[in-house]
């Protein structure tokens, strides 16, 4: 058992890296995904096509394939990031495709009449988006966004396969050192589970609050 206690600090360090990866990637995915969604609903054809192409390609590419391409492939063309940065960029870029669809789904769920009313009142494209469409759209987006958050948190474990020293990677490393460390798999499993359940709980509370305020 002392192996577990000795290595707990190391493991908690890994949890911290996982949380950093998840947080940075989720924020990045939200920003990029929203921009992509605006591209996809804009009246400008090349932007619509670019947004759609990005989403279709990224959603259908395995995350590991993207990670390996960026970490091992891109240095060949003179593009090198640190391992951590590569992982964040991949997770953010990957999540953005899903965020884009969540945002677009939210926008499409708003009745057309509201957008028309906003335009009739003289709102511009960006004004109607900001003041009329997005606030109610956000409510329907909460659940999908929570799922994306959990997906990024669990997906961040794939960074272990390309050598980022996060929770999964450290668990696997400790297990190589000592047979007793098997217990650590349960510990890190519980940590991931806690992140997922906590994310779900906070998301549920947020959704209830937004729904209550709208009434």
């Amino acid at each position: 058992m002392h192996v577990v206690i000795d290595s707990l600090g190391f493991l908690l360090g890994g949890l911290l890296v996982t949380l950093e990866l998840t947080a940075l990637a989720f924020v990045g995915a939200l920003l990029l995904g929203t921009v992509l969604a605006v591209f996809r609903v804009s009246p400008v054809p090349p932007l619509r096509v670019a947004g759609a192409a990005y989403v279709e390609v990224l959603r259908n590419m395995p995350l590991l394939s993207l990670l390996v391409l960026v970490v091992f492939g891109l240095p060949d063309v003179g593009v090198t990031f640190s391992l951590f940065t590569s992982a964040v960029l991949c997770l953010a870029g990957y999540g953005a495709a899903f965020v884009c669809e969540a945002v677009r789904g939210g926008i499409n769920a708003v009745p057309v009449g509201q957008a028309e009313a906003a335009r009739a009142l003289g709102f511009t494209f960006s004004q109607s988006l900001r003041h009329v469409i997005l606030p109610p759209a956000f409510r329907t987006m909460v659940q999908p966004l929570v799922n994306i958050f959990i997906g990024i948190a669990l997906g961040s474990s794939l960074a272990a396969a390309v050598g980022v020293s996060e929770l999964t990677n450290r668990t696997q490393l400790l297990n190589l050192r000592s047979a007793e460390a098997v217990v650590l798999f349960l510990v890190s499993g519980a940590m991931y589970l806690a992140i997922a359940l906590l994310g779900g709980t906070i998301g549920g509370a947020l959704e209830r609050r937004l729904t209550r305020r709208a009434r």
Binding site: P43, N60, F72, G105, R119, F185
Partner: protein, 296 residues
Amino acid sequence: MTVPRVLFDEPGPRARARIRLGTALGLVLLAGLLALALWQFGRNGQLARDRWVPFAQLSYLKFLADGFVGTIIATALAAVASFPLGMVLALGRLSRKRALRWAATAYIELFRGIPLLLLIYAFLLALPRFGVNLPILWKLVVPIVLVNAAVLAEIYRAGINAVDPGQFEAAVSVGLREGTAMRAVIMPQAVRLVAPALVTQLVALLKDSTLGYVVSYPELMKQGNNLTVYTHLLVQTYLIVALIYVVVNLALSRLAVLLERKVGTRVRRKVARSGGTGTPGPGQPLTTAGAPPTLA
């Protein structure tokens, strides 16, 4: 191209001019990005003929094709095992026996909250110490099945819940046993409703099979990796591998959309016929198929 105009009216002359300007700028931006990428490739000598031509050789193609076969085998085995297991879990979660319900719920929540890779490492590194040493293929497939069965259970459950409860009541009142009613009346309808989501889940299984890279099972990702060891054509190989995945998954995703459309019309017709009294409203999303394929 017909464009759904949710956020803008039919553009007037000024708006048309602005859209033209935006189009021009957008095209310039995209062309610029493409040129930058090509320039970056060219500057580092990655566009050279001898770095791409080898991939047209039979030996290279055969190497990658072998990997693709491995991917199909792993995905198919995972699908064959996880689809029925998911259904069992869904029925367990909806069961009237409390112990069964709790066990199924606990399983589903647990396996939806831990990463697949951690589970694979457990099968790869930890379990052999307890004498559980599966062949490599199963070290990949068993964790995929365990995790995806939980996801599939939730899909089936959504489908079962979307079937009008009157169907079950009618089946029982004509004398079917509850189990029979579930199997012969509810399940066929539920599965048809979630068929698109099930196809989408195939995409997820195919993506998960890339973790063969970690356990050294020779599927496409690992074969690509093996190829680079001999050829050092890193960026080329990984781009081609990614492209293969995207093409196959896009085809599956298209199939899901087609199915969705078919299921959608049938359901709308049914709802219209019953005077809209059925539980699912016409505008309401019925299945989880609209949801994107799972992330990881």
